[in-house]
C-alpha cells in the first residue's frame, strides 16, 4: 500500500489492477462470443423464424380480421361484452392513429416472450417446489434477474448475438420470467397437504399427483404469475427497442431523444391499452375457470 492515509480515504485496489481485471474479463467474453456466437445464434434460429413468421402473419392479415380474432379471444377468455367492446374500440383507435403495424409487432413479440416464459418457467417452478435445494439455488438467481438494471444484461446479450429480435427476446424473457417461476413454486407449495396426502394414500404416483392435484390446485397462483409476466414483458418493450426490437417501443425511444411529447404519449397509451386488455382478459379467465376453488373453507 503506497498511500498511508487509509484512514481518510478507502483503501482501494490499484487502478491498474482493476483495469487489468476488466480487460481480462472483457477480452475473455469477447473471445467467447467470437468463438461460440454463431453457434448460439443458430441455436435460436427456429425461434427467430417463428417470431418472424408470427409477426408477418399479424401484419399481413387484414386489420379487420385481426380485430375480430383478438376480440373473439378476449370474449372467450372473459365472457364479458364490456371488455370485448373495449378491445374493439382500443384496437380501432390504435389503427386510426397510425400505430397499427408497430402494435402488431409488439403484440407478436409479447406473445412469443410469454409463451417462452411459460414453457421455461413452469417446469423450473415445479422443480423448485419439489426440492428445497433447487429453490435455494434458483431464488437468488431470480432476485438478480429482477433487480439488475435491464441495460446491464443487455450488454453481454448484444455482444453475443448482436442487435435484433432474438437478443431483444432474451432480454424480455430474463426480465419477465421470474414471476411465473416464483408463483408456480409458491402455488405448488401451498397446495393443501391433506389433499396431496389423500392422493398419495390412494396410490397416485408422482406424475398423477402433479397433473391431477398439484398443478390444478396451484392454477390460480400460476395464472397470477403469468399475468405478472405479461405485464413485465410489456413494460420491457421500450428498453428492448434500444437493441433493435421494432414495435411500439421505438417511437417512444425516438420521442425521448427528440422531445416529441405527443408521439411518446400516443405510443405509451397504445402499450397501456394492450396491457389492460391482456391483464383483464387473463384475470377474468383465471377467475372463471377456478370459480369453485374460491371458497373451499365452507364452515
Amino acid at each position: 500500500m503506497a498511500d498511508s492515509n487509509w484512514l481518510t480515504s478507502f483503501p482501494e485496489m490499484e487502478r491498474s489492477d482493476l483495469r487489468a481485471i476488466k480487460k481480462a474479463l472483457d477480452g475473455a467474453y469477447r473471445e467467447f462470443s467470437r468463438e461460440y456466437g454463431e453457434m448460439i445464434e443458430s441455436f435460436f434460429d427456429p425461434l427467430l423464424s417463428f417470431l418472424v413468421w408470427f409477426e408477418k402473419l399479424l401484419i399481413s392479415t387484414p386489420w379487420f380480421i385481426v380485430v375480430a380474432v383478438c376480440t373473439a379471444l378476449v370474449y372467450l377468455a372473459s365472457r364479458s361484452w364490456k371488455l370485448s367492446l373495449g378491445c374493439v374500440a382500443s384496437l380501432l383507435l390504435i389503427g386510426y392513429f397510425g400505430m397499427w403495424e408497430d402494435t402488431m409487432r409488439t403484440l407478436s413479440i409479447i406473445t412469443v416472450c410469454t409463451m417462452v416464459s411459460i414453457i421455461l418457467g413452469i417446469p423450473i417452478g415445479i422443480a423448485m417446489a419439489r426440492s428445497n435445494r433447487v429453490q435455494s439455488i434458483v431464488t437468488p438467481m431470480l432476485d438478480i434477474m429482477q433487480t439488475m438494471p435491464a441495460f446491464v444484461y443487455l450488454i453481454p446479450v448484444v455482444m453475443l448475438l448482436g442487435i435484433g429480435k432474438i437478443p431483444g427476446l432474451i432480454a424480455v424473457v430474463i426480465y419477465a420470467i421470474p414471476p411465473v417461476i416464483r408463483l408456480t413454486n409458491l402455488g405448488i407449495r401451498l397446495v393443501d397437504k391433506e389433499v396431496l396426502e389423500a392422493a398419495t394414500a390412494f396410490g397416485a404416483n408422482r406424475g398423477q399427483r402433479l397433473w391431477g392435484v398439484q398443478l390444478p390446485l396451484a392454477m390460480p397462483t400460476i395464472m397470477a404469475g403469468i399475468n405478472q409476466t405479461i405485464m413485465m414483458a410489456l413494460s420491457m418493450v421500450v428498453i428492448a427497442s434500444m437493441i433493435g426490437v421494432k414495435g411500439l417501443g421505438q417511437p417512444v425511444l425516438k420521442s425521448i431523444t427528440n422531445q416529441y411529447f405527443t408521439l411518446g404519449l400516443l405510443n405509451g397509451f397504445a402499450i397501456v391499452a394492450l396491457a389492460i386488455l391482456f391483464d383483464r382478459a387473463s384475470q377474468a379467465y383465471a377467475k372463471r375457470t377456478n370459480a369453485h376453488l374460491g371458497d373451499f373453507k365452507h364452515d
Binding site: 389433499v195 396426502e197 389423500a198 398419495t200 390412494f202 397416485a204 404416483n205 391431477g212 369453485h292
Partner: protein, 406 residues
C-alpha cells in the same frame, strides 16, 4: 384364531435430523422429554405392537400429540418408521419399492381423512372415482361405480356439485365413499368424524356401523373421543405419548383400566351407553323346565326362590312366580301353562345398550330375562347390576384404594 390381517411389531418412529442415532437411548427407556432435551429428537412412537383381525373395527385412541395420526400413517407408509415391521396379509410393507407400494395403496388400503382431503377442483362423483382413476379404470365404468357408492351413502343428486358446495357431514360422506369405492379390504380412518358436529358425528357413526355389517371390512379407526371408540370399536388400543398403554375390547377397557391414564379417560364416559346387557348380566340361576304346572311348582319349591324363568324346548316362555303357580294348581280349571300364568315382564336382548333398557329394569320388580333373537334365555339382568354401573362411574378413588387393599 387365524393369522392376523395386519401385524405391527417393534415399531419406533423418531423425528429429527438423524433418528437412527438416538434409537439406542430410546430403547434403553429414556423418556421422551429427556431425548428431546439431550438430542433435539422427538420420539413419535415407541415399541408399538399390534395385531388386527380380518373384519374387525380396531380403534386407536389417544389425545392430541399421542402419536395416533403418526401411527395410522405407517400402515400405508405415508410415513416411514425408524424401525419396525409392518405385515399386511403376509406382505412385508417395509420391503415394497415405490412401484409396489403404489400398487399396494391402490388395492389393499384406502383412507378417510380428518379434514376430508377432497379435491376442490373435481366434482363429487369425480372425487369418489379418484381411486379408480389412479388404478387406470375407464371413465364411464369408474363414474358408474362411484355413483353407486354415492347412492349408498345417501348423496344421490349431489354428484355434479363441487365439494365446497357441500356441508361438512356431506363432504365426509364423499370421503367415505371415495375410500369404499376402491374395494380395498382395509379402511384407514384418521379422526374421520372429529371435525363434524356431534349430531352429524353420531349419524356418521351409525352409518359406518351399518355399512360394516354389510361389508365386513377391516377398519382402523383413529379417534380422541372414548365414547366414539366404545361405540364403534370391536377392540380398542389406547396410545399415550407414543406408547400403547392398553389394548382390549370396550368392556375390558371400561371395567379394568390398565393405569391411571386410562382410568381418567374412562371416568367421564357414559358407561350406560357404552356397555351392553351381555357384559353385566348374570347366568340365569332360577329356571324351571317343567311341562306341567304341578311339576313346575315342585321345581319352584326346590329352588327356594319366589320366581323363576320358564324355559321349554322352544326356548324362553315367561316369568312365573311361586304364588301364581300355587293359584294355578289350586284352581282346577287351569291344567296347563297359559299366558295368564306368566307375569308381564319385558325380555331384553343381550346386545342392547344398558341406557336403552333402564326404564324397563327400574320399573320391574323382578330381574329382567335376557333373551336372544332365537328365543334362548341367556341370562338375567339384576336391577342392582345396572345400578352398579352408575355407582362405579362416580366412585371415589379413595374408596377404590380401600377396596384394593381389602
Amino acid at each position: 384364531m387365524t393369522k392376523p390381517l395386519i401385524e405391527i411389531s417393534g415399531l419406533y418412529k423418531v423425528f429429527g435430523r438423524n433418528p437412527k442415532s438416538v434409537m439406542e437411548r430410546v430403547k434403553q427407556g429414556m423418556s421422551k422429554d429427556d431425548v428431546l432435551a439431550q438430542t433435539d429428537h422427538t420420539v413419535g412412537l415407541k415399541d408399538i405392537n399390534l395385531k388386527m383381525e380380518k373384519g374387525e373395527i380396531f380403534v386407536i385412541m389417544g389425545l392430541s400429540g399421542s402419536g395416533k395420526s403418526t401411527l395410522i400413517r405407517h400402515f400405508n407408509r405415508l410415513i416411514d418408521p425408524t424401525e419396525g415391521k409392518i405385515m399386511v396379509e403376509g406382505i412385508d410393507v417395509m420391503q415394497l419399492n415405490t412401484k409396489a407400494l403404489e400398487e399396494f395403496r391402490r388395492n389393499k388400503m384406502s383412507m378417510v381423512f380428518q379434514r376430508f382431503g377432497l379435491m376442490p377442483h373435481r366434482t363429487v362423483v369425480e372425487n369418489v372415482a379418484y381411486g379408480l382413476e389412479v388404478k387406470g379404470m375407464k371413465k364411464p365404468e369408474r363414474l358408474e361405480k362411484a355413483q353407486e357408492w354415492l347412492d349408498t351413502v345417501g348423496l344421490k343428486g349431489y354428484e355434479n356439485q363441487y365439494p365446497a358446495q357441500l356441508s361438512g357431514g356431506q363432504q365426509q360422506r364423499v370421503g367415505l365413499s371415495r375410500a369404499l369405492c376402491t374395494d380395498a379390504e382395509i379402511l384407514l380412518m384418521d379422526e374421520a368424524f372429529s371435525a363434524l358436529d356431534p349430531l352429524i358425528r353420531s349419524e356418521m357413526q351409525d352409518q359406518l356401523i351399518e355399512l360394516q355389517e354389510k361389508l365386513h371390512k377391516t377398519i382402523v379407526f383413529i379417534t380422541h373421543d372414548l365414547d366414539e371408540a366404545l361405540r364403534i370399536g370391536d377392540r380398542i388400543a389406547i396410545l399415550k405419548d407414543g406408547v400403547l398403554v392398553q389394548q382390549g375390547t370396550p368392556h375390558e377397557i371400561l371395567l379394568n383400566p390398565a393405569d391411571d391414564y386410562v382410568e381418567a379417560f374412562v371416568k367421564d364416559v357414559n358407561r350406560a351407553r357404552a356397555l351392553t346387557v351381555e357384559t353385566v348380566m348374570k347366568p340365569p340361576l332360577y329356571r324351571i323346565t317343567a311341562e306341567t304346572i304341578e311339576e313346575a311348582l315342585m321345581q319352584m319349591k326346590s329352588l327356594k326362590h319366589d320366581y323363576a324363568y320358564h324355559v321349554t324346548e322352544e326356548g324362553y316362555q315367561g316369568l312365573v312366580t311361586q304364588e301364581s303357580l300355587q293359584d294355578a294348581v289350586d284352581d282346577v280349571s287351569v291344567s296347563n301353562f297359559s299366558d295368564d300364568i306368566y307375569e308381564e315382564v319385558p325380555a331384553v336382548l343381550p346386545d342392547a345398550v344398558i341406557e336403552e333398557i333402564i326404564p324397563e329394569t327400574m320399573s320391574c320388580e323382578y330381574s329382567l330375562p335376557v333373551v336372544d333373537e332365537e328365543g334362548n334365555l341367556k341370562g338375567e339382568l339384576e336391577r342392582s347390576a345396572v345400578a352398579d354401573i352408575f355407582a362405579e362411574g362416580g366412585e371415589d378413588p379413595a374408596e377404590k384404594e380401600l377396596e384394593k387393599a381389602s
